[in-house]
């Protein structure tokens, strides 16, 4: 009865639920416990409007909320109790912070009179989460809940998005208040969208128009500001090659002739090598992460850098910008586009083609059509790519399988890559795929996970079972923590210190959760098994037994510059 909602006396807990509904929230990931019981009690009356997904560990709730947010563009919402419930959120919140993912985390807290007394399940979650949240607050009064939620959503979703946390004491949840929701539209100390300086846009255009070898680096910010079309238009108008960061993948169509590949430590040969040959580097919504730049002292020294960025603290943080353009990427590119002159840059583009030929011959051909006895991870991804036509939402965990997937899956649809980039959180993949599938039930959602990461959050198979989430899971099992093993092989004299794994029977575990699955170890069964997995209407686990000691190449080793990328 919507008309009764306003000016109605409710408990703080019910005010929270109403506020979430007023923010358009449909799905929540969480786990109940003592200090958040009033909220769960209020939720009981609203399950027709608010879907709650019961995870198996609070970390899973944060990653699910991240997956949900990344594919839907909406903030992910998490409920957890105080103490251990709250501390279990920290990894996911830190991941969301470094990967600019909007989350609204609600934690229960002990009653205000017990604050600071070491009460049962009391922890200073506001203090603990401070370094990893964009903003957080503790609420001790029912009347403060709705305004805090309004601010939380506004801050999480505007400007450079990020996670926020609202800690609500139990007495505030029980307390009575008159519910009257006002959305937050501004905060006087917070300017999420810097006004774009048209002079710098003009300077950027002049640099680009004069450039013989301009090069676009596309980051996550392109997806966050929904600037894919503007980026495409810029590239096409100027005939400018585009490479992507890990989180920028799927912002630019991988099949496009101007797309030259993926940047960074295990990215493609051409875009890394030629970073040090371009004359103008156009960085859009990216932050020059060390995995992208390699040694910064050997990074694009010859180039003039244009940096399109919404967060002022990113400008000049790592790579000095000749022309910084502060503001929303979409808005800035729209201002830039009319100023860009069409230019033939065939010679420059051909350099990328040459590099690609070299990478094909030295790395790719053998990776996707190997002659090894055992299956290689790369051929699994290539076959999965071909069968799904590059249209699946692909969720990866962290490690070799992640680098292989992002190398060999060609993201043809916008915003279909979900991975843990900055924090590199093993255990991210499985719960994130759950959130992604809930946000986009009509899409094929496939998680690709290694045997190590799978076991970090394997309990979320229970969430899949209980909520019937039809995610597909490819477990690439090499019985190793492969990325660490690769480093041990290359830089620690093959001293495989605690990287070999004795694994359980994953298919039996899946069966225990009522999830279908199949284990494949023969190359000839691979295509058919992938088809079976993709065709399944319910969750499905495909375990592929792969080469134990496969290495990911190319590689930029520690201390090396991007142009020192090695192919083998």
């Amino acid at each position: 009865m919507i008309h009764n909602k306003y000016n109605k006396e409710v408990t703080g807990a019910e005010a929270l639920i109403l506020a979430l509904l007023d923010e358009g929230v449909k799905d929540v990931f969480g786990y109940p416990g003592g200090a958040i019981m009033p909220v769960y009690d209020a939720l009981y009356d609203y399950t027709d409007k608010l879907n709650h997904y019961l995870v198996r560990h609070e970390q899973g709730a944060t990653h699910a909320a991240q997956g949900y947010s990344r594919v839907s563009g909406k903030p992910g919402v998490v409920f957890a109790t105080s103490g251990p419930g709250a501390t279990n959120l920290i990894t996911g919140i830190a991941d969301a912070q470094i990967d600019s993912t909007p989350l609204v985390c609600i934690t229960g807290q002990v009653s205000s009179q017990f604050l600071g007394t070491d009460a049962f399940q009391e922890t200073d979650v506001v203090g603990i989460s401070m370094p990893v949240t964009k903003w957080n607050i503790q609420v001790t009064n029912a009347s403060e809940i709705a305004p805090a939620i309004a601010k939380a959503f506004y801050i999480a979703t505007t400007g450079r998005p990020g996670p926020v946390l609202v800690d609500i004491t139990k007495d505030a949840q029980f307390g009575k208040t008159v519910y009257n929701y006002e959305k937050c539209h501004s905060i006087r100390s917070y300017f999420p969208y810097p006004k774009i300086n048209t002079e710098s846009v003009k300077q950027a255009a002049a640099l680009i128009n004069d450039a013989k070898r301009p090069f676009i680096l596309c980051g996550h910010g392109v997806l966050l500001s929904n600037a894919q079309n503007q980026l495409l238009a810029l590239a096409e108008k100027g005939n400018i090659p585009v490479a992507s960061t890990l989180l920028g993948l799927s912002a630019f169509p991988a099949q496009h002739e101007l797309y030259v590949g993926y940047l960074g430590m295990h990215g493609n040969y051409g875009p890394n090598l030629l970073t040090n040959e371009c004359d103008v580097l156009i960085a859009i919504g990216m932050r020059f992460d060390d995995r992208v730049t390699g040694n910064v002292n050997k990074y694009a020294k010859q180039a003039k850098v244009i940096h399109f960025e919404i967060d002022p603290s990113e400008i000049n943080k790592i790579i000095p910008a000749e022309v910084p353009v502060l503001g929303d990427a979409k808005e800035a590119l729209e201002l830039l586009l009319p100023l860009i002159k069409t230019k033939n840059r065939k010679e420059w583009l051909d350099r990328f083609v040459e590099c690609h030929e070299i990478e094909l011959e030295k790395v790719i051909n053998n990776a996707i059509e190997p002659t090894t006895e055992k299956i290689r991870m790369s051929e699994v991804i290539d076959k999965f790519y071909k069968q799904s036509k590059g249209k699946a939402i692909v969720v990866t965990d962290v490690g070799q399988h992640q680098m292989i997937t992002t190398r060999y899956y060609k993201f043809n649809d916008t915003n279909t890559n979900v991975t843990s980039g900055g924090l590199g959180t093993m255990g991210f993949g499985l719960p994130a795929s759950i959130g992604a599938k809930i946000a986009k039930p009509e899409k094929q959602v496939v998680a690709v996970i290694g045997d190590g990461g799978f076991q970090m959050t394997i309990q979320e198979l229970g969430t899949i079972m209980q909520s019937n989430i039809a995610v597909k899971i490819i477990v690439l099992n090499n019985n190793f923590l492969g990325m660490v093993r690769q480093w041990q092989q290359l830089f620690f004299d093959r001293r495989y210190s605690f990287t070999e794994m004795k694994n359980p029977d994953f298919i039996a575990i899946a069966k225990g959760y009522g999830i279908k699955g199949k284990k494949v170890s023969e190359r000839e069964d691979l295509n058919e098994s992938i088809k079976e997995m993709l065709d399944s209407n319910e969750a499905y686990i495909l375990e592929v037994v792969v080469e134990n000691e496969e290495n990911v190449f190319p590689m930029i080793t520690t201390g090396a510059g991007v142009s020192e990328i090695i192919l083998e």
């Binding site: 401070m130 801050i155 006087r188 100390s189 917070y190 969208y193 002079e199 300077q203 603290s313």
Partner: protein, 185 residues
Amino acid sequence: MRTTYTISIFTEDRIGLLNRITIIFTRRHINILSITASESEVKGIYRYTIVVSVSEETITKLITQIDKQVEVLKAFYHENSEIIFREIALYKISAEALNQNDLFSKIIHENNARIVSISSDYIVVEKTGDEMEILNLFNSLEIFGMLEYARSGKVAVTKPMKTLTTYLKELENNSKITIKHFNNN
């Protein structure tokens, strides 16, 4: 090269915000030399004054990170030449100093200090000034037996004539990114 910078941060009145700001220093392994917090000339807006010794590159990055905090209205940094600053110190010395009254009075007079409390056991002397002046007085008074000594952090006002309210208006019209080190484009 390290320089002493005084950072002035104008903030909303919020529990925990100081913690959020000090974390920015801790995370980068930067020591805070002194810190004070008080309400500014605008009601409800607080002013933190933090002194650090870092390179210019570090200070510019610190300021953008501080400015990025949602409830920070604006952060500035200044070198000593750009600000008027003072510290205050209280020196508690033994009342026996009065036995050498001439010397004691001379020290107080020459250092522009003043006596704020006298009892049968002790005398409390107050001094405002810069770090060096305060330290000089400490050394001079030490001969009388220093019972207790406390020094405040730095408080500072800037020399440029722009008022906080002007900045606040600017903030509302533009955004907080128009700080000086971004105007190089």
